[in-house]
Amino acid sequence: MRAALRSFPTLLRVGFADAVAYRAEFLIWILSTNMPLVMLALWSAVAREHPIGGWGQGKFAAYFLAALVVRLLTGCWAVWTMNYELRQGTLSFRLLRPVHPLLHYLAENVAAIPMRGLFALPVAAASLWILGSGELASDPWSYAIFLAAVLGAFAINFVSMTIVGCLGFFVESSLAIFQVWFGVYLLLSGYLIPLDFFPGWLREASAVLPFRFMLSFPVEVLLGRVSGGAALAWLGYQWALVAAMLALLVITWRAGLRRYSAYGG
């Protein structure tokens, strides 16, 4: 374990060099993450004449730009890597190394964040400031909570992807399962629609589902819509979710690995 952790910085460095080498790919990924901007245009059009449900154009702008920032910081692709390795059989090579494959995937995904940050964050953050600074949280503690919330969002994103990836040990196509998960994520995380706009029962349900904590919660904190004690409470809840999902990951991984070895890899 300690050896694995010691090698983590190297893994990160390699991951970063990789990211730099395949810069075109990253540019493409960044360009693909344009849905918040599209939704922004849409909702701005809705609110063109007058605010909807208490949301004016400025509020929508702030919301979706914040969503873009969070998405860029928390996106990962672990499920595709795992699916590919399972399909191609290259997972066997990973397993032979003294580093746990999951740590490897983690390093790859984490190392990519600075690249994305370099390209996209300045633009997004600047736009956010210009267009929606009136909407941002005023309490400095909120920013600290925001950072923790983003970290939590990344964790949930990564762990959920790897859990689905582990299902690939049992099912032909884990990508199909992921598509369903992603579809629900689109709806319930606030990515397409701010959760405020859902009818009562759905809004209450979505408040406690993990999806909210992958996107909407950090955004809410950044925009000052949740603050102080309530924010801390929800932060605690978020990380409890992270812990629970980690446990689930460990279980699924072990079970999957047993099956993988049983079938000759």
Partner: protein
């Protein structure tokens, strides 16, 4: 010509056979297609129920027609275009693209027809369902003329979408790891589910003239709804042809560069 038709048939048959082999995948993907159609409905519903009346001049049923075209073209994008793109990427990665270039058939044609995914037919059927629903809400049906113009716009839309794809594949020659290119194309296309009126300013110009999303979904919808100006239709025709010509030129240029630059 007949040779190319027969080639198309052989390639399609090969794809269908492969799809049949992975039967479970086939069914699952079909189900997921339907799932996505439903997911697509939700934002639309929420947006229009939050505000009574119209958004950017479009009513709920009218926006549904746009969604219908979007879904229909999506079935083409995901069923024919993306799989072939993926096949090309695989070829480049494995170094077997050379075999394509060695054949006495136009490489662009071979590469475009390499792979189909038949379960995308569900998307196609779903789009028809959306049309029927939308026009039921409107309480009328498109006139034959509107239908004809609509089909013409569909043809143009298909041409533009295909040309977009050719541009993406041409880029694949230069960029080493482009697994995300099909993802990029899909994500850009995704903006087409909304009527073009929703966008303003620079983005609107972008989506009308540079990446002609307007042409792909909004104009066909307007044709069916009878709100398409003849001038716009004509402009769309010219633009589509120009775009496809440009795409072909880029393809040929990229191919030439590939053969000079690769080793």
């Amino acid at each position: 010509m007949r040779r190319y038709l027969r080639l198309l048939y052989v390639q399609a048959r090969a794809s269908a056979t492969i799809a049949m082999q992975y039967r479970v995948d086939f069914l699952v993907q079909g189900a997921i297609s339907v799932f996505w159609v439903f997911i697509a409905f939700v934002p639309l519903r929420v947006v229009f129920s939050s505000k009574a009346g119209s958004v950017a001049g479009w009513s709920y049923p009218e926006a549904l027609v746009v969604l219908g075209w979007f879904t229909l073209l999506k079935s083409v994008l995901e069923g024919a275009i993306n799989p072939s793109l993926q096949a090309v990427i695989d070829h480049i990665r494995k170094g077997t693209l050379d075999f394509v270039l060695l054949k006495p058939v136009d490489a662009q044609f071979l590469v475009s027809t390499a792979r189909f995914e038949p379960w995308r037919l569900t998307d196609f059927l779903a789009s028809l369902g959306i049309f029927i629903y939308a026009f039921t809400l409107l309480g009328r049906a498109p006139t034959p003329v509107q239908l004809a113009v609509g089909l013409l716009m569909l043809g143009l839309a298909g041409l533009v979408l295909y040309s977009l794809w050719i541009l993406v594949v041409s880029a694949a020659f230069f960029v080493v790891r482009i697994d995300n290119l099909s993802h990029l194309l899909s994500s850009i296309y995704d903006a087409g589910r909304w009527p073009i009126g929703v966008f303003t300013g620079a983005i609107r110009i972008l989506f009308t003239y540079v990446i002609p999303l307007a042409l792909m979904t909004t104009y066909p919808a307007m044709a069916l709804l009878g709100t398409l100006e003849p001038v716009t239709a004509l402009g769309a025709l010219v633009a589509a042809l120009a775009f496809s010509g440009a795409a072909r030129a880029v393809w040929l240029l990229s191919l030439a560069r590939y053969t000079s630059a690769s080793s």
